[in-house]
Symmetry: C2
Subunit: 251 residues, 2 copies
């Protein structure tokens, strides 16, 4: 890409907006400068611009994002067919099994939730469209990684920080590779409290009409409600049904 085809101000402003996500609700200019690596003067200008446009609020000391930023995510959700198409299926599935159902896509080394029907909260973190989890230790992430060409899959693992999140987390690379091979083989992934204690989940890939994996579908349940080993038998048939139903609808 040509040097002159890049709008630096936009890139910096987006850096600033993302930086709001990690930290306290209110950020001062200096904190923002620190968090983004931008010059203080630049961070200040970006923040003032966001405030002027109504994306942020400034009380003279702290800046915070306003609900207006939701417009941006909404600009994606409302015109992209995939989330809209999935949502009713997730709701039906969620109701049928009495557990939360979600769909996500792979972005870099993380899965991004694009639709979700929640039944009850079992995770400490609140998952909404836009939430992100490390791919290597989430059920949908495993499914999506397993669908990648070997080379890309390994590249993602290389970039990931394989750190145990619970005592059950598989972190050894050989274990992970074996697990991913098994996932590719059997067409589904099961996670037993690897991401968060007390949470099990099962995921399958969603293919488009040409057979390319474009998203993943999962059901999450409290470990207290069901043993992870029973999840395939209990949930897979329904999930496969949704998978088959959606396939011809995806372009």
């Amino acid at each position: 890409m040509k040097q002159t085809d890049f709008v630096g101000g936009l890139a910096k402003g987006l850096r600033v907006m993302e930086a709001f996500g990690s930290g306290q609700p209110g950020m001062t200019i200096a904190q923002m400068s620190e968090a983004t690596g931008l010059d203080r003067a630049t961070a200040r200008r970006c923040l003032l611009t966001l405030a002027e446009l109504g994306y942020a609020h400034y009380d003279g000391k702290h800046f915070e994002l306003t609900p207006k930023v939701l417009r941006l995510g909404h600009a994606y959700l409302s015109v992209t067919p995939l989330p809209q198409l999935l949502q009713p299926h997730l709701e039906a599935l969620s109701k049928e099994v009495g557990q939360s159902a979600s769909a996500s896509v792979l972005e870099g080394s993380e899965v991004v939730y694009i639709a979700r029907a929640s039944q009850k909260r079992v995770m400490s973190i609140n998952l909404v469209p836009g939430s992100r989890l490390p791919a290597w230790c989430a059920s949908m992430g495993r499914v999506l990684l397993a669908a990648l060409p070997q080379e890309q899959m390994l590249a993602v693992l290389d970039r990931s920080e394989l750190r145990p999140l619970t005592p059950h987390t598989k972190v050894a690379r050989p274990d992970l590779l074996a697990e991913l091979a098994r996932v590719r083989e059997q067409g589904y992934a099961v996670i037993d409290q690897e991401l968060e204690l007390g949470l099990c989940s099962i995921a399958i890939p969603l293919m488009d009409a040409r057979g390319r994996v474009i998203a993943a579908l999962n059901i999450g349940a409290p470990a207290a409600a069901i043993d992870a080993r029973d999840m395939p038998e209990r949930y897979l048939p329904l999930m496969r049904h949704v998978q088959a139903e959606l396939r011809p609808l995806l372009p």
Copy 2:
């Protein structure tokens, strides 16, 4: 605000991102230029920058947003206490009454959904956090407008396009003012298919510890399931309970 404290490139880029929301999933450079009023060259630079940063995808002809933009909305949702606090209450409420429950705030002349627990789809439009509806004809909007100082409330109505969305929509200004006065009086608003045929809803304001109205809570139901006139009796007690529970928790 000082002229030099404004980053034009950021403002233009955000205009571009929002413009994706209204239209087809894929936008050409010329369409974007048209939609934003930016010069074609500028629109192109913004789009290429977004593509370079991974917020958009470019196939040589059409640009479309990627799920990465969800990060931005998520930056708001994940650090703002209000949506997080509300979500579990909405889910409990939704489950208890078997209908969808939502929360929203006022932004300009629109309500923005900040949290939602959906039970089944009754509206043709898919509501998610970030969705917007005109305040004057939505139940939560009426509640939030009624809480505004008279002057601001009138200003919002002046800016709104009072167009009937269904045969039931109240559009006459005197009717609306009388309705808003009643809403302020009784502390709740009921909408009977004014926004969409077949949809009824009831909303109440959510106050913070100091009594300021900061958001609204609603329950939406198909007109087939319940007569709008029965909603207060059936749903208000539970909603008031949530309202009272939340009030001391809101800063």
